[in-house]
């Protein structure tokens, strides 16, 4: 599904250059569930951001589905993120001024690949699948954190992405909700065949993955 070759990310700070990620080589086949684990500040979220086209690497290449992501123009990269990648962030990432159904429909509306009616029908179906069929017109502030996270998964799936990136999606949730969210993500991976990459520092969650990548100090250690 994607391949990283000698990928690195460095930042200039007042104290000098900081290498957040250094020389990573990684291959994840299509349809696989991979977990990237490591301590806070190890560089796992930065690596995921570079794979997803959110943060430009300082070195190396990243190919997703055969596309060299960071050789794309800004416009093509935006279309690529919209069409190929789904994100679930570690924070409540819904737009507070839009209803749930609008939040879920938004990526498809940005991409303009299908009609508004078809988009909203699909958004409604995805929210229904996530158990939020009764909250289509609700605003994010009117539902719980776990429900918001499920809505974010629905939004990530609206364009039927090939790659679903989840950056600590259960970090601030209770145990039961964490299990429900993980079940949803696993179901997406198994039923739809979507490649799933989960960034977490929770080993219990990572153990469910087919491939575990352990990062420390910006490099793969296992």
């Amino acid at each position: 599904m994607f391949a990283c070759r000698q990928v690195g990310k460095s930042y200039r700070t007042e104290r000098g250059v900081v290498n957040a990620v250094a020389g990573i080589d990684l291959d994840v086949p299509a349809g696989r569930f991979a977990a990237i684990i490591g301590r806070s500040g190890s560089g796992k979220s930065t690596l995921m951001a570079m794979i997803g086209g959110l943060s430009r690497p300082s070195a190396g290449t990243i190919e997703v589905g055969g596309t060299d992501v960071w050789r794309l123009s800004e416009t093509a990269l935006a279309a690529f993120r919209n069409e190929k990648i789904g994100y679930v962030f570690q924070f409540a990432s819904l737009l507070p001024t839009l209803r749930l159904i609008d939040n879920v429909a938004l990526p498809a509306m940005l991409g303009r690949r299908q009609s508004t009616a078809a988009t909203y029908t699909r958004a409604s179906g995805l929210l229904d699948r996530m158990g939020l069929g009764g909250y289509l017109d609700a605003y994010p502030s009117e539902i719980s954190a776990g429900e918001q996270r499920r809505a974010a998964i629905a939004r990530a799936l609206i364009n039927d992405p090939a790659l679903l990136l989840a950056d600590e999606p259960t970090s601030d949730l209770d145990e039961q909700t964490e299990i429900e969210i993980m079940d949803e993500l696993l179901a997406v991976n198994r039923e739809l065949g979507t490649t799933l990459v989960l960034v977490t520092h929770n080993l219990a969650l990572a153990e469910q993955a087919e491939q575990i990548v352990h990062i420390a100090n910006g490099a793969i250690v296992a």
Binding site: L54, R81, N82
Partner: protein, 399 residues
């Protein structure tokens, strides 16, 4: 895209106090600019009417004729007293460059307007006139001829239509622009020949309509001549005449006002520029506050243009609404202006000519569009900067 426009609108509603303050600031700015521009044009037009006296520097009327400074600025008042039509030509006064004779007859039961309406029939010599014809706003495509009339701006009849005066048909040859002076606004102008022909149909023939008589002359001074020189020359050469001049300080006021208007124009330009800077600073802060949201939009596939679009649409809505409110505020202010300062100006003899409706509407539209454009320009740079940042940095609230 409707959803993005809706997002922009909803964002405005999230920070109501801030949005209202922005709208209020733009409303005040655009209101001042709209009001200022409208009043400037009105004052400019009024100066053209009042201070230049339609090209006349002074007026010669029969001694004993009632005059007031307001009318003296522009017109000969209707009177039974008359002067000989050739009195100035015979005098050959060097300080007089041009003299335009006028006959004014105030008549009743003319057939114009209501039955008892008093109508000023004003005769001019088209060859000598320099005060009336320059004000023709529209006219037929030919020269003024016998049987033609020119209507003041306060009278309404289509060009070329027939107008019955004392039962005699006349052709509406032209219409004057707004002058702000009653005699002109409601007057019916015609050549001496037409007026003299008409006199035969009048039940009572006014003295001024006798052949060889006029109500007075509008005078244009020769280059370099002063009104004092001309006054003495006329009074010594023409017996039984009175020379009326305007207040010489008016030209000083006019010059001062012209400078003031230029200053106001510069201030208005500065005000709009400062509004653009203010909107830009505000939207820089808004972009900083919403970095995570903008990053999220970018992460889910919003292009740079779409990100810029959301911010710019939000700014244009706010400043556009501010522009509409500002224009409304400006109209209210001008209503107050009309009741106070315009009344005062009228009282001291300076007619005030409001800008006509089409121009006022055009100014209002321009003020609203300019306010909206300022929003677009002000938000463009911070939005463009945000669109170029890494989505991940934005999502994390950095960059």
């Amino acid at each position: 895209m409707r959803l993005l426009a809706n997002l922009a609108l909803q964002n405005l509603g999230r920070r109501k106090a801030r949005s209202l303050l922005l709208i209020a600031a733009v409303a005040i700015g655009s209101g001042v600019v709209f009001t200022g521009a409208t009043l400037m044009r009105s004052i400019d037009d009024s100066m053209a009417v009042g201070f230049t006296r339609l090209g006349a520097d002074m007026m010669v009327v029969p001694e004993g004729a009632l005059t007031n400074i307001t009318a003296a600025l522009l017109t000969v008042e209707p009177t039974d007293l008359v002067l000989d039509a050739d009195v100035l030509a015979k005098a050959r006064i060097a300080s007089v460059a041009r003299a335009a004779p006028q006959k004014i007859a105030r008549v009743e039961h003319s057939g114009i307007g209501s039955h008892h309406e008093l109508v000023d029939l004003i005769g001019i010599d088209p060859a000598l006139d320099f005060t009336i014809q320059p004000w023709l706003r529209e006219k037929l495509g030919r020269e003024l001829q016998a049987g033609d009339v020119i209507l003041g701006a306060g009278r309404d009849a289509p060009l070329g239509s027939q107008l019955l005066i004392f039962g005699k048909p006349h052709v509406v040859y032209g219409k004057l622009g707004r002058t702000g002076v009653g005699t002109h606004e409601r007057g019916v102008f015609m050549s001496f020949a037409t007026l003299e022909t008409l006199a035969a149909s009048m039940p009572q023939r006014p003295a001024v309509l006798a052949p060889g008589k006029v109500t007075g002359f509008l005078i244009e001074l020769a280059p370099g001549a002063t009104s004092l020189q001309a006054r003495f020359a006329i009074l010594s050469a023409v017996k039984g005449a009175k020379v009326v001049t305007g207040d010489s300080s008016l030209s000083g006021i006019r010059q001062g006002l012209a400078a003031l208007l230029k200053g106001i124009l510069a201030l208005m330009v500065l005000m709009f520029a400062s509004m653009a800077v203010m909107v830009s600073v505000l939207f820089s802060a808004i972009v900083t506050e919403r970095r995570a949201e903008l990053g999220l939009l970018k992460a889910i596939g919003a292009s740079g243009a779409q990100l810029i679009g959301v911010m710019v649409v939000e700014a244009v809505i706010a400043t556009g609404v501010g522009g509409v409110l500002g224009v409304t505020l400006g109209v209210l202010v001008m209503r107050l202006y009309e009741r106070s300062l315009v009344y005062y100006l009228d009282n001291i003899g300076v007619p005030f000519v409001w800008l006509d409706l089409p121009h006022t509407v055009a100014f209002a539209a321009a003020a609203i569009l300019l306010a909206a454009a300022i929003g677009a320009v002000g938000a463009l740079y911070p939005a463009w900067q945000a669109s170029r940042r890494d989505a991940y940095d934005l999502v994390r609230g950095e960059g």
